[in-house]
């Protein structure tokens, strides 16, 4: 039974997504309970899967009896299982959050929304588990198509942002596919484990380098790495409030995870192809993303736009950690990925509550609501602590391990980039709090009534999770060091 867990995890949301339009044709209000039940069932299954992987080693799931190099296989190792717990928990929170906002926010297209969310979740499980480069491409595209449709689901200004995302995202997917076909042409295999043995003999091959670069650029577009980030802020800002938390916290991170898997598991990351050390490239790009993203965030007045740019800068920080090429940096990077995912979800929940409850979109208006909204301000303070990286939040320990890794690798540029980006993050949150606590600002007369329970729940859980990840950072990082490291480190 336990070796079937990866397939069960994938099939739960997929079957729910497929049956949703049929079941909810007549009873539209059933769609939320069904999605919540499906995702709530996924959380224990994913934790069970993590437990299983930790105690019995990685699971290689073989489809329909065709074993590895010939057939398609899924690899449930430590890293994938940890990320899956994150994916299922955050998407459950996202769907719980949607309850009260959805009818107004989504223009009545509730069934479409829940179907697409479940499809998105199942395709992200596929990306996390995929042990085959082409399988990864297919799931990336399913996730991308669901996201385009989700962003545009309510119409309005989001349509144009979704169209731009579609154009750029498809270009990224085509480049990824091109890279995969280069690698296939050189190695003659698509299976990641099989490819590992063939790469050491091909290090002088230009096609290998070309393939890796195309894959890097393609996934870079998907994860909104800095030169290719232009689609993200508009898409996440104008997307309906119930959708941006799940998109911002999971979709880019899962693309980043796919990239980590290809660099560390397929290519032994410390190798040098044609005199180009790939990790150096990653550090430089990561440092640029961390600093540029945070400085762009400083210039925004729309809160969702500000948080979206903050997410771009945090992708850079994760890449800095991953790119150090030592155990501390890698574990720190993955730990920061978990934190960042929770923080992004929390921040966009907050933006959603601010708009739905108080009609607030810009930081000036947020200042006017100010102290009348204790839930909003309280959770904003916790999330700001996490984003800036102050103890005892998880953000602090993530950055701490990343900096330790960079010092271990004698890489002072990376340390400087992390610190500079922290300062810039501090600057834009100071700007936000200055608006909230300025005494002179005129109060906005809000007739808001009681905050719905699901808003309190999601804000409370994400704020608590930020603190808990910080308090339990040592065992989590130890778990990552023991079970989630790539074989080459």
């Amino acid at each position: 039974m336990s070796h079937q867990l990866p397939a069960i995890l994938f099939l739960l949301p997929l079957f729910a997504a497929i049956s949703m339009p049929v079941v909810c044709l007549k009873h539209r209000h059933w769609s939320q309970p069904i999605s919540v039940a499906t995702l709530a069932a996924m959380v224990p299954v994913s934790i069970l899967n993590l437990h299983n992987v930790i105690h019995h080693g990685e699971v290689r799931y073989v489809f329909s009896g065709w074993t590895a190099p010939l057939g398609i296989e899924w690899v449930a190792d430590g890293l994938a299982s940890v990320i899956l717990v994150l994916v299922s928990t955050v998407s459950l929170l996202g769907v719980v959050f949607t309850g009260p906002t959805s009818p107004k926010d989504l223009g009545g297209r509730i069934v479409h929304y829940y179907t697409l969310i479940l499809l998105l979740v199942s395709s992200m499980i596929g990306i996390v588990f995929a042990g085959d480069l082409f399988n990864l491409f297919v799931f990336l595209e399913v996730a991308a198509i669901s996201s385009y449709a989700l962003i545009g689901v309510a119409g309005g200004r989001a349509l144009f942002a979704a169209f731009r995302y579609l154009i750029l995202g498809t270009l990224g997917a085509s480049l990824y596919l091109l890279g995969v076909s280069y690698l296939y042409a050189v190695t003659g295999t698509l299976n990641m484990t099989d490819m590992v043995d063939k790469i050491p003999f091909l290090l002088s091959s230009k096609a290998l380098l070309g393939g890796l670069l195309f894959i890097f650029i393609g996934l870079g577009i998907k994860m909104a790495l800095v030169p290719f980030h232009s689609w993200l802020p508009e898409a996440y800002t104008y997307a309906p409030d119930s959708i941006s938390p799940i998109l911002a916290s999971l979709v880019t991170k899962v693309a980043l995870l796919a990239w980590i898997r290809i660099t560390y598991w397929v290519f032994n990351a410390s190798i040098v192809i044609n005199d180009i050390p790939i990790l150096l490239l990653v550090e430089v790009v990561g440092a640029l993303a961390a600093v540029i993203g945070a400085s762009l965030a400083l210039a925004q007045r729309d809160i969702k736009m500000m948080f979206a740019y903050g997410g771009i800068s945090h992708i850079g920080i994760i890449l800095i950690g991953i790119g150090q090429g030592n155990q501390t940096g890698f574990a720190g990077g993955v730990f920061y990925l978990l934190n960042d995912s929770v923080m992004q979800a929390g921040l966009f929940f907050l933006a959603g509550v601010a708009f739905y409850q108080y009609g607030v979109r810009t930081i000036d208006d947020l200042g006017r609501v100010g102290k009348q909204a204790p839930w909003l301000t309280g959770s904003l303070i916790v999330m700001a602590l996490g984003m800036i990286g102050l103890p005892p939040t998880g953000g602090f320990f993530g950055k701490w391990y990343i900096i330790l890794g960079a010092l271990e690798a004698d890489n002072y540029v990376s340390v400087a980039a992390v610190l500079l980006s922290t300062l810039l993050t501090l600057a834009y949150f100071v700007k936000l709090f200055e608006c909230i606590f300025r005494q002179t600002s005129t109060r906005l007369d809000v007739q808001s009534g009681e905050i719905p329970l699901s808003f309190k729940l999601t804000l409370g859980v994400t704020s608590a999770a930020i603190i808990i990840l910080g308090l339990f950072s040592a065992p989590i990082v130890q778990l990552l060091l023991n079970h989630a490291l790539p074989p080459s480190l």
């Binding site: 545009g152 085509s174 076909s181």
Partner: protein
Amino acid sequence: MVDAFFAVFQRPNFLTFVIIFLWGFYIMVTRYNLVKKLIGMYLVQTSVIFFLVSISAKKGATVPVLLSTTEPVQAASYANPLPHVLTLTAIVVGVATLGVGLALCAAIYRKYGSLDEQEILEKLE
């Protein structure tokens, strides 16, 4: 330099791939009409599919069904089925993306009454 030039013309399929890819990319970047952008996007996707097919082509090979079960298998006489299957999947993915893109275009046209990027941006301001 001259060698490199001739080497390129030794492989007309790669040259074709590069031309189609860059042509599609050029259309995506320079045209303001959203449907034309989608056409450029589709050209880019098709060029990658073309590349995948062209690297798997084999002279004198037949369909990958064993001609005889008694003799040892001659790999050279069968085409590799994998790239063709990948191509099929990539085409399906491309069609799905194009469908979503056209649906978005239709919705944008209904909302803004135009498909021209600049006109839409003016209306957004």
